[in-house]
Structure formats: structure tokens, C-alpha cells
């Protein structure tokens, strides 16, 4: 494309040069012919101008010398002589030879120098020589630099339109430089009969914040600055803004701009009303001036605010305690709201009910939002596991591929942190016990690569995390044998697969034949189970021998607030996590008598063992005639809890018991009820476990 232009220039230049030759020869005969002189000048001028445009810089600078001389001839400062014509002719030949070299350069510098010297000598004989300023393209200004705020007053000439300039174009050009606010002053517009429709009566104040520098602003006005009134002042460097608490007062701006004197300002200030209003109403300052100053004030404030928000970016870091505090408060609110709803329902007051409903809706949203703040995607944990898998496979000589799914699933931050160790343990187990060595896998007709699949998915108010491997699977007989050996089950016990697999979580249970650095130290799965229980989650194993194992961990979305069932024993309130509760049935005196002290209830043709909480917690008082059994299901086992009274569902904000009660068995936390009394939250899995342990 550039070459096309260069070619066009060369053709044109050859043409001009041959025309130049003729003109010069004619000129020798008629040295006074102004037309001829003009033609020679124009030819040189065109070769120079176009040459430099298409990269023939040597030709351009050389021709410039000739052009300078002929400019003098044209202006009558120099006469056409034979010497001049001879020199010009050789210059013409020189240009031609420069053109012949395709790149325009590589000419005989000596000849060029000689011709230029001759031309200069001619020129200097006649008055001072014109300075041979080389034509250089203007360097492009580097953009960037400090962010500054400028105050620009632009008063265009009345006849600006007749020069084809549009002031609005200039303003929009300014706007492209940065953050820009413009105020038009229209006080100069005359009444209709006096107006010249082609004149411009408006002038502008512009506040501009830009990092392009003063020259960029001047460039905008380059074509008009000679004719217009243009004032550009720096009002602040950007950093200055942040240092200052608040920007200048309106009066200060006006004073700085010279719109008001300090005496006048003092007079206005003495009246102690809004400065702008007084200044205008007292006729000291035209309204537009005040408006313009106001715009400046706002502009600076906006820029500063923008900077601050840019500093803060899109996310903020907040200490976790503050979030916990927020969640706690929301929890309290939830409690109070529940009470409000209850009271409103009891009163039958329609107005109160409407308010209660509104509060309930808002509280619900507030709760969800507050809890959401603490949610993080589980993906970061997943990527840590990838590293673990890589290291382990090298250590154990197994070839393992890990796939993940649902990395974007969100969980409460604390939950994610506390899930880390159990999950590592489970993955180690899968790799160490589950996946076979490559040779074994090939022999079993499986791909050489073992796969560990890690998936997380939302399910209701909990997250289901699945760790699946395509390894050897659990050996049911080995588990059974080990369980009998360790006395965990009786030799005659009939167990479902589910129950059997659940045994691997029993304390001190490990089926690994040899102890490796990875697993099998006997502190395996029971530790995992405890950690998951502490998160109020559940864990389940499914396995097919030879095909692989799947471990499913179910974790509630958040630890802070749970749905629970509120029950009462004597005067004390207790909570059971609703997710564990299956059903509630009555327990009568007859049932107790029929069970012969064995704590078993008959529920729909099945025996369900129960734990009388009144006894367990040694609560004094009279046992009511009809008690309630809350039947829970933990790890596939149904266990009932006997209480005096079931009150109902409750949104429970969990409070930890503090260090003093850390070891209290059977209690996982506490909550405060609407009336201020405390309810303890039952640690159902632990209660079941301890009762089982006592029985054994």
C-alpha cells in the first residue's frame, strides 16, 4: 500500500523533473517571466512536500534548498542568473539520480553538497539567507503522566463559525481526554433583535481531569487559540485531592477565578447563608459563574470519589469476626422475628400480622444475604488436592488421574476450612487402599490409570461431596472379620451392606494390611467421621468389590444457622437438628411398662431404641404421663430421644459453648430463644455413640 504511494510519487516526480528542465531552459531566455518562476518553485515545492511524505527524506531536504532559493526569486529578492539556472539544472539531475535509486537515498553526497553550497552562496549574497530548517515531523507526545485537574475557560471569537470551526467539536474532544464537566455561560447572548445568527455568544468553563498533560489540551484548541480567549489553569494534582479533606469552598473557587474579590466575599460570608445563593441574589456574581464554580466543586468531589472507589476495587476485605458478628446479629433478628410472627398470629390483629409477614420476608432475605457473604467456592480446595494426588502417585508408584466437578459450588468459609483435613484423609485412603498398582489393574482388565473423581453439588440446604475411585473396593469379609476381632460387632450379627461399611468409621478400625506413610495408622476413618460430625454433616460409604468405592459426605451449607426441632424437658429447652429428625411419636406409660426397662419402642412394627433424655441429663421433676419420642436417623440407624414436649420447628442461631464446656458430652452448642432463655443443641451422633459404648 505504501509502495503504491511511493510509486505514484516517483512517476509524478519524473514528470515534474522533465517539466522543470523545460521551464529552466525557457527561464534562461526570459529571466523575468513570473509564471515560469512560479512553475519552477511549485515543482520544487511539490517534490519536497510529497517526497518527505512518502519517505524520500534525502530528496526532500535536498530540494528544500533549491525551493528556498526560488522562493527568494519569486519574492523578487534574487535575480535569475545563468549561474542559478546552471546550479538548478544540476540540482534537477541530482534529484533524478536520487530517484533512480529505488529507495531515494544512496546519492552522491559530494555532488549534493557542492550544489547546496553553490545555492547557499547565491542566497547569502542577497541579504540574510533563510534558515534552512529541516522539515521534521512532529514527535508524537507520549501519553500518560500524572493525573491533573484543569480549569479551562474557552471564549471563542464571535465569528468562529465563519472559519468552519465548531466549538462543540472542541468540547467533545476535551471530553475524550478524561473526566470532563462543562458549563456554558450564556449571559453574553443578546436579545433577539440584536442577535447575529451566525455569531457565537456563548463561552464555556470546563473542568477536566486527565493524565494527558497540558499539551494535549492545548492541541485541542490548536486551530483556534490565536483568535480565542483561552485560559488553562491547573487546579489540583490528583494526589492533592486525596490529601485534602474536602475541596475548596465555593467562595474560594470564585475568588481564585477572579469573579469576586476577597472583601466582597467576606461581606457575603458575614450573612451566613448558602454562599452561592447570597452571592447571586446580592448581584455580586452572575448566576452562571456560581453554577460553574459549583460544577468544579462537584467534579473534584466526583473524581476523588472515583479514585477512592478505584482504590477499593470491586471487593473489600473484612475481618472474619465482623462477618461472624453480622451473622450473629442476623441470627438474633431471626429469633425475634419468629417470636413476632408467633405473637401476631396469636393476636389475630390483621395490621400486626401484615407487619409481621413483612418483617419475616425481610429477615429471610437478610439472613440469606448475610450467610452468602461467607460463601466461597470449594474449587480452591480441589486444586490443592490435585497436588496431593500428584505427589502421592509418585510416592506409591501408582498412576492416578484426578477429575473434579462442581468446583464452583459454594460453601461457608469455615466449613471449607474444616473440610480440608477430612477430605485429604479420604482421598489418601482412596489412593492408598482403593487404587491398585498399574500391573494389578491391567491384570484385572482395568485401564492402567486409576481415577479419583471429586465432585461437589448442592442438594437442598446442604452440599454433597463425593469421592469416587475405580479401585479394588471394600472387602466386606475383611471388614466383618476385623470388626468381630476388635469386638465392634458380635460374631453372629446380621448387618446390611450399609451398616457394614459404616463400621470403617468405628474408632480404631483399620483394614490396611501394612502401615504406610499415607494411611493405615489406625487413626483413619473415625477421625474423619468426627470432623464431619462436628460440621453436622454425615458420611456414607458405598462400594462394589473390584469396581470401586464411593464416599459421600453431606455438609450443611452453613454452620451459623440451622433448622431445628425445639423440645422441652421439665423447664429446660433443647434443640435437635431438623435434618436428623425422622418423626415424632408418643410414649405412654404402657409402652414403657411393656418394654420391661429395655428402652425400646414399637414404631410401625419395628423396634426403635430410645434414649430417655430426662435420665441422661438428670433433670429432676415429674415425668408427664405421655412423653414424646423424637426419632432420628444417624448413619442409617434409627434412635429415639424421649422428651416431655415437642414445641416445633425453630430457626436456630448456633452459639458455641465456650472453652469451659468444650468437653460437655452430647451438647454441640446453644442458642438463645425469643424470650431470652437458653436452649442447648443436642449432639445427636455423639449421644448415640456414647449410649452404645455404655451398653457394650
Amino acid at each position: 500500500m505504501i509502495d503504491v504511494h511511493r510509486q505514484a510519487f516517483k512517476e509524478e516526480a519524473y514528470e515534474l523533473l522533465s517539466e522543470l528542465e523545460n521551464s529552466l531552459l525557457e527561464l534562461e531566455e526570459r529571466p523575468d517571466d513570473v509564471d515560469l518562476i512560479g512553475r519552477v518553485f511549485r515543482a520544487m515545492h511539490t517534490i519536497k512536500g510529497s517526497g518527505s511524505m512518502f519517505g524520500f527524506d534525502d530528496i526532500a531536504s535536498f530540494t528544500h534548498e533549491v525551493e528556498t532559493v526560488f522562493d527568494m526569486v519569486r519574492n523578487g529578492k534574487l535575480e535569475v542568473t545563468t549561474t542559478l539556472v546552471n546550479l538548478t539544472l544540476s540540482a534537477r539531475d541530482q534529484i533524478k539520480s536520487m530517484l533512480d535509486n529505488s529507495d531515494g537515498g544512496g546519492a552522491d553526497l559530494e555532488t549534493s553538497g557542492r550544489i547546496i553550497a553553490g545555492l547557499r552562496a547565491l542566497a547569502s549574497n542577497e541579504g540574510p539567507a533563510a534558515p534552512a530548517a529541516p522539515v521534521e515531523p512532529k514527535a508524537v507526545k507520549p501519553a500518560g503522566g500524572a493525573r491533573m485537574t484543569y480549569r479551562i475557560r474557552f471564549v471563542p471569537p464571535r465569528d468562529i463559525f465563519s472559519s468552519g470551526s465548531n466549538p462543540l467539536n472542541l468540547l467533545s474532544e476535551l471530553k475524550e481526554l478524561g473526566v470532563c464537566n462543562a458549563v456554558a455561560h450564556t449571559s453574553g447572548v443578546p436579545s433577539l433583535e440584536d442577535i447575529d445568527p451566525e455569531g457565537c455568544y456563548v463561552h464555556w468553563d470546563v473542568i477536566l481531569t486527565t493524565d494527558q498533560g497540558l499539551n494535549a489540551i492545548r492541541d485541542v484548541f490548536i486551530f483556534v487559540e490565536d483568535d480565542c480567549e483561552l485560559r488553562i489553569e491547573v487546579i489540583a494534582e490528583h494526589d492533592e485531592f486525596s490529601a485534602q479533606e474536602s475541596y475548596k469552598k465555593l467562595g474560594e473557587i470564585l475568588q481564585e477565578r477572579g469573579a469576586i474579590s476577597s472583601d466582597e466575599m467576606a461581606g457575603v460570608l458575614a450573612k451566613q447563608r448558602r454562599f452561592g445563593e447570597i452571592a447571586v441574589s446580592s448581584g455580586l456574581v452572575p448566576e452562571a459563574e456560581v453554577l460553574s464554580a459549583l460544577v468544579e466543586q462537584r467534579h473534584v468531589q466526583a473524581v476523588r470519589q472515583e479514585k477512592q472507589s478505584a482504590d477499593a476495587a470491586n471487593s473489600i476485605r473484612v475481618p472474619a469476626e465482623r462477618l461472624d458478628m453480622l451473622v450473629n446479629l442476623v441470627g438474633e433478628l431471626v429469633t425475634v422475628q419468629a417470636r413476632l410472627s408467633q405473637t401476631a398470629a396469636g393476636r389475630g390483629d390483621a395490621e400486626l400480622s401484615a407487619i409481621a409477614e413483612e418483617v419475616e420476608r425481610l429477615t429471610g432475605e437478610l439472613r440469606d444475604n448475610a450467610l452468602n457473604i461467607r460463601m466461597l467456592p470449594i474449587g480452591s480446595t480441589f486444586s490443592k488436592f490435585k497436588r496431593l494426588v500428584r505427589d502421592l502417585s509418585a510416592e506409591l508408584g501408582k498412576e492416578i488421574e484426578m477429575t473434579t466437578e462442581g468446583a464452583e459450588t459454594e460453601l461457608d468459609k469455615t466449613v471449607i476450612e474444616r473440610l480440608n483435613d477430612p477430605l485429604i484423609h479420604l482421598i489418601r485412603n482412596s489412593i492408598d487402599h482403593g487404587l491398585e498398582l498399574p500391573e494389578v489393574r491391567l491384570a484385572a482388565g482395568k485401564p492402567r490409570f486409576g481415577t479419583v473423581h471429586l465432585a461437589a453439588v448442592h442438594s437442598g440446604d446442604s452440599v454433597l461431596i463425593t469421592i469416587k475411585d475405580d479401585g479394588a473396593g471394600l472387602d466386606k469379609e475383611a471388614i466383618r472379620a476385623k470388626a468381630i476381632e476388635r469386638g465392634v460387632i458380635a460374631a453372629s450379627a446380621e448387618l446390611s451392606d450399609k451398616e457394614l461399611f459404616a463400621l470403617v468409621f468405628a474408632p480404631g478400625f483399620s483394614t490396611a494390611k501394612k502401615v504406610s506413610s499415607v494411611s493405615g495408622r489406625g487413626v483413619g476413618m473415625d477421625v474423619v467421621k468426627k470432623a464431619i460430625d462436628a460440621l453436622r454433616g454425615s458420611i456414607e460409604v458405598a462400594s462394589v468389590q473390584g469396581e470401586g468405592t464411593r464416599i459421600m459426605v453431606r455438609i450443611p451449607l452453613t454452620l451459623a444457622i440451622i433448622e431445628s426441632l425445639l423440645v422441652k424437658i421439665g423447664k429446660d429447652f433443647f434443640m435437635l437438628p431438623l435434618s436428623l429428625v425422622d418423626e415424632c411419636v408418643e410414649l405412654t406409660r404402657e409402652d414403657v411398662a411393656r418394654a420391661h426397662g429395655r428402652n425400646l419402642a414399637h414404631v410401625r412394627e419395628r423396634l426403635v431404641p430410645y434414649i430417655p433424655l430426662r435420665e441422661r441429663f438428670r433433670i429432676p421433676g415429674r415425668v408427664p404421663d405421655i412423653e414424646q419420642i423424637v426419632i432420628t436417623e444417624v448413619n442409617g440407624v434409627r434412635v429415639g430421644f424421649v422428651v416431655d414436649q415437642v414445641i416445633g420447628e425453630h430457626q436456630t442461631v448456633i452459639k458455641s459453648l465456650g472453652r469451659a464446656y468444650k468437653n460437655a458430652e452430647g451438647i454441640s452448642g446453644a442458642t438463645i430463644l425469643g424470650d431470652g432463655s437458653v436452649a442447648l443443641i443436642l449432639d445427636v451422633p455423639q449421644l448415640v455413640q456414647s449410649v452404645e459404648a455404655e451398653a457394650a
Binding site: 504511494h5 518553485f41 512536500g49 465563519s162 472559519s163 486551530f223
Partner: protein, 121 residues
């Protein structure tokens, strides 16, 4: 509709370059070989902008600017003159004749487009 820009220059290569650059920028271009040719063409059709060289045979740039401003259709259009650094006095002359601005030769296509955008909005 594309805006129409006239380029008046006796140098074919400059005309070609200006014309090529403007067409790439999405403008329609009318070419004129000198001031006289330009004025004739301006009388016949409306253009949105004029880019003219100063040194041209028959009628030079200054004459063209004056002539164009006298036409009702060209009274307020932007007129850009192509000058060289050594022509400061001519630049002033052009301005008082009614030129909007100028481009100093030599210039690059980007510079030309920047000026066109500037005055044409």
C-alpha cells in the same frame, strides 16, 4: 450517508494518498487538481469538508479558500490547508481567508485522519 471531503492538490501523489486515506476512513472523496477545478466542482455539489494545498497553478489555495467561503454551501464547512513549516506567513494568510486549520507537510495518514476527525466531529 458518508461525508464528502474534497481534496484539492496539484500533486497527484499527495492527492492519491489523501484520497486513499480518507476512503479508508469511510469518507467519500472528490478530487480537484487545482483551485479553479476545485471551485468549479464545489459549485456543482455539496461537500462537508475541504482539504487544500496552498501552492497550486491557476488558482492557489488562498484564492480557493476565499472563493469557497463566498459560496453559501461552503460558508461554515471546515477547510484544512496543507502547508510546510516555511510558510508561516501563508498560514496566517490562509487563516484570515477563512481556513479552519492546517496540516504541516509532511504528514502521516494517521495525522490526516486525526485532523479530519477533529474538525468534522
Amino acid at each position: 450517508m458518508a461525508k464528502v471531503i474534497m481534496t484539492a492538490d496539484d500533486s497527484a501523489s499527495v492527492r492519491q494518498m489523501v484520497s486513499f486515506t480518507l476512503k479508508q476512513g469511510g469518507y467519500e472523496v472528490v478530487e480537484a487538481v487545482d483551485g479553479k477545478d476545485a471551485l468549479q466542482k464545489l459549485a456543482g455539489r455539496k461537500v462537508d469538508m475541504l482539504i487544500t494545498d496552498l501552492n497550486m497553478p491557476n488558482l492557489d489555495g488562498i484564492g480557493l479558500i476565499k472563493g469557497a467561503r463566498a459560496l453559501a454551501s461552503c460558508k461554515f464547512i471546515p477547510i484544512i490547508m496543507l502547508t510546510t513549516e516555511s510558510q508561516d506567513s501563508r498560514k496566517q494568510e490562509g487563516k484570515s481567508a477563512g481556513a479552519t486549520g492546517w496540516i504541516v507537510k509532511p504528514f502521516k495518514p494517521e495525522q490526516l485522519m486525526a485532523v479530519v476527525k477533529k474538525v468534522l466531529g
